[in-house]
């Protein structure tokens, strides 16, 4: 039962497990719902999806599986609606109307006719997205005026509820690949913070010591790791040029990052890291800092995050003098490698969508320099990036 549905969910990367599937079957078995598609949709959603980020994926799969847009074969079409329509008739048709059906030659006759028309229609619209038309006077289809009209794919008769609940895709903006806001970024950055709470037990845990002493009958000292957020972060932001369209996203990351770490230093660079960085973009030519000074000042336990679209000419990375703004003695790649030699964990966050990376050679170059530690600036990417950062040391 619904095995197909289950597999489709799996392959659409909705994290469903056998246990949840069995729960759904158990709920069906115990008759939690009536025989209505909407109810089944709500029930299966509640049983199988556990995170609002997956609701949109679920809606899409549900629509795909149960609407039979492309994958349903002709034979199936005739089978499914029959069961389905019968229960619908019982719901919607009055006794009088049922009598009229009898007059038309009975239920079987009507179903036969319906099947015929379904097949015809299947030929007319190729993979059409409605089983049968709406608003007509045929006995089949929604919004009809024929008294024995069978309502297909409609819940509340003529209230204009043409779009199925799962087709509305209300949860689109909760899908985590799509968009991130300050709050979401904070959530992802917290992964790093939590890690910072672990470590060597260095503090006396008074409560636990008292408790344990009372337990044991002798003085039993308990230590806990320091709970302070000790994470140090160094962020380099690419600014200007091709990054302008991503500025808003970066600002959000920046404001979120600021409150999440106690020690956070940021510097700006343009396109690629060279011998100078700056802190105030308006005064970038007056108040520059030597990159060496920065690297010397901050110890190697700092986590380094680069934020940039890495979109430039490959020469800007690999050749001395390649920079578009000034003459650089050493190629950017050397600087990037230096960073990685000094700092154990360094990653690059890229606001450009991952699927476009392969078309920009400079992105590939930097990805290589960073040994594939480049992540898209989506919630998922940020999450992976933080995992990567907290993995080292």
């Amino acid at each position: 039962m619904f095995v197909n549905f289950f597999h489709e969910l799996k392959s659409a990367n909705v994290p469903v497990s056998l246990r949840e599937y069995l729960t759904l079957l158990e709920a069906m078995d115990k008759k939690v719902i009536e025989d209505k598609v909407e109810d089944f949709y709500y029930l299966s959603r509640s049983a199988l999806v556990k995170d609002e980020r997956n609701l949109d994926k679920f809606d899409r799969v549900f629509s795909h599986v149960f609407k039979g847009l492309d994958s349903l074969e002709e034979g199936d079409i005739a089978q499914i609606p029959e069961e389905w329509l019968k229960s619908l008739t019982e719901k919607f048709l009055t006794d009088e109307e049922k009598a009229q059906i009898e007059a038309l030659g009975g239920w079987e006759k009507i179903m036969e006719e319906l099947q015929k028309r379904l097949e015809e229609q299947e030929k007319r619209h190729e993979g059409g997205n409605k089983w049968i038309g709406t608003g007509g006077t045929s006995p089949y289809g929604a919004d009809g005026y024929n008294p024995e009209g069978v309502r297909i794919g409609q819940k509340e008769g003529r209230h204009g509820k043409a779009v199925k609940v799962w087709d509305k895709r209300e949860y689109k903006n909760l899908d985590d690949g799509v968009e991130i806001g300050t709050r979401n970024i904070k959530m992802a950055l917290r992964r790093l913070r939590r890690f910072a709470r672990h470590g060597q037990p260095t503090e006396l845990d008074l409560d636990d010591t008292i408790k344990s002493t009372a337990h044991q009958g002798y003085l039993d000292i308990k230590m806990v790791p320091e709970r302070k957020n000790k994470i140090n972060v160094l962020i380099f932001f690419d600014i200007g040029g091709s990054m302008d369209s991503h500025i808003k996203l970066c600002e959000e990351l920046f404001s979120a990052a600021r409150t999440e770490f106690k020690n956070m230093e940021y510097f700006y660079f343009h396109n690629c890291l060279y011998e100078h960085v700056w802190k105030d973009n308006k005064r970038r030519h007056q108040e520059r800092m030597d990159t060496w000074d920065v690297l010397h000042k901050y110890p190697s336990d700092y986590k380094v995050i680069f934020v940039g679209d890495a979109t430039m000419s490959p020469y800007e990375i690999t050749y001395a003098g390649g920079s578009v703004e000034h003459w650089n003695e050493e190629p950017g790649a050397i600087w990037l490698e230096r960073i990685q030699q000094i700092y154990e964990s360094a990653i690059w966050l890229n606001p450009v969508a991952e699927r476009h990376w392969e078309y920009t050679p400079s992105i590939q170059v930097i990805e290589q320099v960073f040994q594939d530690r480049m992540f898209p600036l989506t919630l998922e990417g940020l999450d992976n990036a933080m995992k990567e950062l907290s993995r080292a040391s």
């Binding site: 509640s46 049983a47 408790k211």
Partner: protein
């Protein structure tokens, strides 16, 4: 036992099914949603509708899973032993029951609300896995096993501040309370203010959804804020005409303090009002 919503609470179809599935299959129900969409209220209303006792366990950042089961008060036992109290010989005198234990003991099936589970430590839900699954736990100090007389109906709310572990999620039914659309909102208002004039509701809702649609608001007003605002409108006896007035100089709705909780948002609004006025001139 079937939950159909109450006269004070509008339950949408999907919510009702999720609740009933959780009741029938005796699994916990996990509720998420924007703040102010009635997550906690749901548990209260469920207890009313099902005529079951409500046991609430508010979770804080310091709450431990063990506290929900029981706590062993070692300190007072130590003190009693110094004083030579008789009680000290029976360790069960120092076992304090937690909310979960309480709910296990009830003869009649209660509703157990675990409120804001995401506030607690990341390991918290994992520590409760077995207890919520089997509805039993073991008391080490006394060596007894506590088993639920009636599996309580467990409602868990989360504000999404932390991710919950997969193993925990797999055992729950999940429902995300979506922000109500205008129709549902009207029903909700009708439940709370039955004598409110229809026109006032319409105008207030228009203003409300307009505010929600303003891009860049730090905190969008939610259902509970709308209800507060309506209460104020009633008290102040503001007429629908007043709300309807689209005079740009009065773009900020009356008594906006109930809707906008953030001074930056108020500023944003004032700026928009200013811009609108300039456009007119």
């Amino acid at each position: 036992m079937k939950f159909e919503g109450t006269k004070d609470y509008v339950a949408t179809d999907d919510l009702r099914i999720a609740v009933n599935a959780a009741i029938t299959l005796e699994r916990p129900l996990l509720i998420k949603g924007e703040p102010g969409t009635g997550k906690t209220v749901l548990a209260e209303e469920m207890s009313k509708a099902l005529d079951a006792e409500l046991i609430t366990w508010h979770i804080k950042s310091t709450t431990k899973a063990q506290q929900g089961l029981y706590e062993y008060d070692a300190v007072s036992r130590l003190r009693d032993s110094q004083l030579g109290d008789e009680r000290v010989n029976d360790i069960s005198n120092y076992i304090e029951r937690g909310k979960l234990w309480e709910s296990f003991e009830r003869e009649k099936r209660p509703v157990l609300l675990i409120d804001e589970i995401d506030k607690a430590d990341i390991e918290f839900p994992n520590d409760l896995l077995l207890e919520l699954d089997r509805m039993e736990f073991f008391v080490y100090e006394t060596g007894e096993t506590i088993k639920a007389a009636q599996r309580p109906i467990v409602v868990i709310t989360s504000n999404n501040e932390k991710e919950l572990p997969d193993a925990f999620l797999r055992r729950c039914f999940f429902h995300y309370i979506n922000f109500p659309d205008e129709e549902t909102m009207k029903q909700i208002i009708a439940v709370h203010f039955p004598d409110l004039k229809g026109r006032l509701i319409q105008e207030a809702l228009n203003v409300f959804y307009e505010i929600r649609d303003v891009p860049g608001l730090k905190k969008k007003p939610s259902t509970s804020e709308l209800l507060d605002w309506l209460k104020l409108l009633l008290v102040e006896d503001i007429s629908p005409e007043n709300l309807k007035e689209r005079d740009p100089s009065k773009l900020i709705p009356p008594l906006h303090g109930a809707l906008l909780k953030n001074e930056q948002d108020v500023h944003l609004f004032e700026r928009l009002a200013f811009l609108a006025r300039r456009e007119r001139n």
